[in-house]
């Protein structure tokens, strides 16, 4: 981990009418870090993430991602990031291979690169049996792992994961986090939202959002000390309940 900052947010704010979904949050993420972005449902995590990935324009404040401004250089950011949404976003009516080809293609990979990447993924995720099956027919755990791999196809600097392990079993979650570690070891910064507090423990640093504001930001260890509790679950409960 270096001290190079790949995400910097300053008073980043998003309002919808009179409702403030994200209220002047400031934080920064270092290169190669696994940054946990925690908060209760409706705390504003997804809205904040959408501003960082350039599909939602901030109402106030500013942020840079991979060195580009989110308001004015959103399209440049998109070349440098991967994103896996909360809503599962591969095409159910295409096969695994066709999904890889499509997303590789629109990220500008050549045919040869796509072929190579596909072979690599088949190897890594043991996809030989399912590579020509429709994605819609696969179990959720499989879909999530493939979806994550697809978001890494173009070797992005930062990957944003919005509740990537929602609804999958503990074993798959475990495997998923191994994949996250591997990506981080390769120098990819991982920005991840989650509801699972055991997963929060795996992060280098976590921020906890409550009602649109970041109420705590530190390593899991420091947060536990600061709040005088045993685990992240208790940290979360103390903060979220106010």
């Amino acid at each position: 981990m270096t001290n190079e900052l790949v995400i910097q947010a300053e008073n980043l704010t998003k309002t919808f009418g009179s409702f403030t979904a994200v209220d002047a949050i400031s934080f920064s993420v270092r290169k190669g870090e696994i940054f946990g972005f925690l908060g209760a449902n409706g705390a504003g995590k997804t809205t904040a993430m959408k501003m960082l990935i350039g599909i939602s324009t901030p109402s106030a404040g500013k942020a840079t991602v991979a060195g580009f401004d989110v308001s004015s250089e959103a399209e440049k950011i998109k070349k440098n990031i991967g994103y896996m949404s909360q809503k599962f976003a591969l095409y159910d009516d295409l096969t695994v291979k066709q999904n890889i080809t499509f997303f590789g293609g629109i990220y500008g990979l050549s045919r040869a690169q796509i072929k190579l990447k596909t072979a690599e993924l088949v190897e890594e995720l043991d996809l030989k049996e399912v590579v020509n099956q429709l994605v819609g027919a696969l179990p959720l755990g499989w879909k999530q792992k493939i979806s994550f791999s697809v978001s890494l196809l173009h070797n992005p600097k930062i990957v944003f994961l919005d509740e990537p392990t929602g609804g999958v079993d503990p074993i798959t979650r475990r495997q998923f986090w191994e994949m996250i570690y591997k990506a981080a070891n390769n120098g990819t910064t991982v920005f991840v939202t989650t509801h699972y507090m055991d997963e929060a423990e795996y992060c280098d640093r976590v921020s906890i959002m409550v009602n649109g504001k970041i109420e705590a930001l530190d390593s899991p260890k420091n947060l536990k000390t600061q709040f005088g509790v045993e685990n992240m679950n208790d940290v979360f409960l103390k903060l979220a309940r106010g």
């Binding site: 599909i55 070349k79 949404s85 599962f88 976003a89 009516d93 295409l94």
Partner: protein, 373 residues
Amino acid sequence: MKTIGYIIQKEFRQIFRNKAMLPIIFIMPLFQLIILSNAATFDVKNIKFSYIDHDHSAMSRALIEKFNTSSYFNVITDFPSAALANSAMLSGEVDVILEIPQHFERDLAKDKYAPLGITINAIDGAAAGIENVYISQIIQGFNRNIRPELMQQGQASNLMKSINTIPLFWYNETLNYKTFMVPGILVLLVTMITLFLSGMNIVREKEIGTLEQINVTPIKKSQFIIGKLFPFWVIGLALLSVGLIIAKLIFDVPMLGSLVLMYGYTSVYILVILGIGLFISNFTDTQQQAMFISWFFIVIFILMSGLFTPIESMPKWAQTITDFNPIKYFVQVMRMVMLKGSSLTDIMPQLLKTLAFAVIMNGLAVWSYRKTS
């Protein structure tokens, strides 16, 4: 360019994957073409005709026989009284009542003149008008035939020199309504299918969440839109081809003009419809909303296109509205090229207007598509 290729490939894969979709796109419209073209006719035939003959003479029977032999009239009943005939019309059993007065033959012979009573059910005004014309023609024909008989005994000098009108029907000599309807209905099918497909497509990706994934990629708006619309453009032209073949094989509709011109114009026209579809897609969140809005436009466009009702008989303000109806121009061009063999110069006004619509609608569509909210 390469990126567009990947999108087109993906769209075609999805279309061909969906086993239910291809029949919907190709088979259903052809059924519509065959059924509608046969059913939607303006010919008034099988008119339910009845009469009240108070005269019972040779001449009154001859007149009734005239109607009997006409292919437009089915002579149903002979009513003994006007009251019975009227109640039959009220219940819808008859469309036309001919009342022949007493002394019809005698009056004709004596005064060279006799009145006839005609009652026509005019709930459908257009049909009643046509029936009136048919009836007048038959009576005039009857008139001409009996005149020599009545003017026997050396009155030949008084014989009127009758004036004959011989109508010439151009471009559709046989007055075959199918020739007129098939090109129009083909327009309708190409329009509906391409509008619905393009209107539903992007909003569907919104619904399932894949559009967000696309918006996070560095893809350019124009690349995405071209890649999305190209497959539907191809489908529209394929549909036109199948329709033209059916028109030729089943309905024997002539194709007097140039096929190149037909396809050239249709290529531009489909762009207009796809632009409208995409525009609808951008402003709706669900396929249901997109469907309702598409229908709203389709119904207005079709009813104001001159396909079923002539634009000339619409009120002035409505005629102004039809100037903004792309279907109107397609119907005109289709009929002009197929039936009249019109050239590029002939259809230039329509082509230029359609081109302008294509530029405007696709401009609006690209402008209103937002990768960022």
